[in-house]
């Protein structure tokens, strides 16, 4: 086998390993909708009395902890959301979008007395986070295909 053929074989093995990882890293189908609901809940709970807002934080924390645990148990791995590559662009965009929506909702609710703003924003964030999570997974697979994010 020549050096070139050896290199070709090695790169094919790298591709195979990445394809295997792309399959393993897939989250359970309910993972992104559950994350979306938890995030949407953070915005929506602003319309509730203060006591409920405080009560939601431990629920949110517990929910995130359970999601992380379930993901690790299923896949046997953990991936940092803001890892380099296309995934970082998706994660940052999603964080900015959700943060911006939550800030706008807070302003509408407190300054303009738009009482339904937190609920509407919560619903939009829930959908955005779900779609964003799926986009993140697609970006991760694309990164693995062309070796970005190393």
């Amino acid at each position: 086998m020549t050096r070139d053929e050896d290199a070709l074989r090695m790169l094919a093995e790298v591709e195979a390993a990445n394809a295997d990882l792309a399959e393993r890293a897939k989250a359970p189908v309910w993972y992104h909708p559950a994350l979306g609901l938890l995030m949407g809940g953070l915005a929506a709970v602003e319309a509730a009395p203060l006591i409920w807002q405080y009560a939601y934080f431990p629920v949110f924390g517990l929910g995130i902890w359970l999601l992380v645990r379930a993901y690790i148990r299923k896949t046997g791995l953990w991936i940092y959301g803001f890892r380099a590559g296309r995934t970082r662009i998706v994660a940052l965009s999603l964080a900015l979008l959700c943060g911006g929506l939550a800030a706008m909702s807070g302003w509408l609710f407190h300054a303009r007395r738009v009482v339904y703003a937190p609920l509407l924003t919560g619903a939009v964030i829930a959908v955005a986070a779900t779609v964003g999570g799926l986009l993140w997974e697609a970006a991760f697979r694309a990164d693995l295909r062309d070796g970005r994010g190393l």
Partner: protein, 98 residues
Amino acid sequence: MSASLDPVIHAPNRLQMCCMLAAVDTIDFATVREALDVSESVLSKHVKTLEESGYVKVRKAASEGRQRTWLSLSRPGREALRSHLAALKAMMAGVPEI
């Protein structure tokens, strides 16, 4: 600086393992073993080689009543892998597509 092949990473299983580790934050030893389809002892040797070179970090943690071993790629490991893959791609220049 030109990219060069790294003898530590060059072994097929170690190269595949480094690529897997490069894409994730941390991965379970058992998951890597299953993906590479190798025995525990073979993978342990590869992990030891990479750990001794400073390319892989090994962390043991109790999880659900049992000890699990978690692997992650270190910064020098990531740089070495990047350089190794660049060298492989450079060698491929001029090889016709299959």
